[in-house]
Symmetry: none
Subunit: 262 residues, 2 copies
């Protein structure tokens, strides 16, 4: 059998069962577990599936939800730790801007207990808080960007241009010595207004964002007060950021403790 055919059969099989063990797959395609392993490597690099201990699971199960949510598993443990560490930086009752993006969404999940007044352009964040009468949540207007649930466009920019808050909790595609950068041009205008509106600017960036530069520049490092990242962050970019006068918070690893002796 051709490798390609085998991989396609693996993919089709996973579409039916969502999860499959190595043995299961190797029997399904009549090949050794080692071969299946190699196939899974290829398929994972294509983004079709995600490998797990003992097998593999489909990358995006039914995506009728937003592209991210609590189910999201891309770096989710790291993002969760960032969420907790970032929440610790917020005082109860502060006014907060929450950027759209999966990392900030994880912050939002914990922020509820601080009962702040929240401004956001993220539909998932709005849904998260909507049932809670204790929180006042202001949603910016705008056009819904499908799948991500972000509100964009002039209405969104304008909403943020008229307010002022204590803290803005942001995320982006990357940070390097030149500053913060992001990929979606549509978001940049909005994010600039968010930064302008806030006394204190916190960026939540997992380790994969450090030292990386994304398409469009968003702001310089001088405009950033705090960067929260996870414990897998490389030393070099962290040192650089600190030298530039930014408070860098490294969130401790969660769950599978002792992964890093540090």
């Amino acid at each position: 059998m051709q490798p390609e055919e085998r991989q396609q059969r693996i993919e089709e099989y996973l579409l039916q069962v969502e999860f499959a063990s190595l043995d299961e797959l190797s029997e399904q395609v009549d090949a050794s577990t080692s071969t299946v392993r190699r196939d899974l490597q290829i398929l994972e690099s294509k983004g079709v599936l995600r490998r797990t201990h003992g097998g593999a699971r489909l990358a995006n199960p039914k995506s009728d939800e937003f592209a991210f949510s609590a189910r999201d598993t891309q770096h989710s443990l790291e993002k969760e730790s960032i969420g907790q560490a970032c929440t610790a930086l917020i005082q109860p009752g502060q006014t907060v801007i929450l950027d759209a993006g999966s990392t900030v969404f994880h912050v939002a999940k914990h922020l509820e207990q601080k009962a702040p007044q929240v401004f956001t352009n993220s539909l998932p964040v709005a849904n998260l808080y909507a049932p809670n009468p204790r929180l006042e949540v202001v949603l910016s207007g705008g056009v819904i960007y499908p799948r991500l649930g972000v509100l964009v466009g002039p209405l969104a920019v304008e909403s943020f241009s008229k307010i002022h808050v204590d803290v803005a909790i942001m995320s982006s595609g990357g940070v390097d010595a030149e500053g913060i950068s992001n990929s979606h041009g549509l978001l940049i205008d909005i994010q600039r207004q968010m930064i302008r509106a806030a006394n204190r600017v916190i960026f939540c960036l997992d380790h994969s964002k450090l030292g990386r530069r994304s398409l469009s520049p968003l702001c310089s490092l001088e405009e950033v007060d705090v960067i929260v990242t996870d414990s897998q962050a490389a030393a070099d970019p962290v040192a650089m950021l600190k030298q530039r006068g930014i408070q860098v918070v490294v969130a401790p690893a969660l769950g599978k403790a002792a992964a890093e002796p540090a």
Copy 2:
């Protein structure tokens, strides 16, 4: 079974029962309590659930639904028929304002096929359309009114004051010879802007709203073009409305079979 699958099953099980003991879970996934404990640690650190003595409970209890939705049963058959009848009045590609309210939500469910450009201040409607890239949905800004998921306040009023659309699909608390009235004062300013912004104004009012007057007056009958109601509507108010020059559409009753298209 691999860890990920087990954790997902735990999560799904909790979605059904809200709370579960360790023994319950360990039997459910056929693993030792120690393993379940470890899984719960991971799931808790992801924020999916909260551990308690003896078990775990869901972090965000699934009632993050809004007070109404497709599940809503209050007059839902009638509202469903109104939704279908109202959709028939819309031309493909028209620009539409959708009011917040359960009756209009039922219209929204059918409106997707007409692929209009939609303006709304309803979070449930936004969520309904958010995954669909074919529709352009503009959400007004505003403060989230909890439980109902309506955006209110000056930001919302302002959003609608700046646009113009072909049709506004509205609902309210009641209609009588004096005009349309509604109960929520917060909504009235917004609804007036919606009416102002539209060429054609359609009110969707089930039979219980006809002849009833709610707290605050919203607009006169002259500003209304069409009223869609259901087949249980009394004859008197319908005749009155027709005499005042309003097109009244009485939606035919639905059999239980035809009630649920999806």
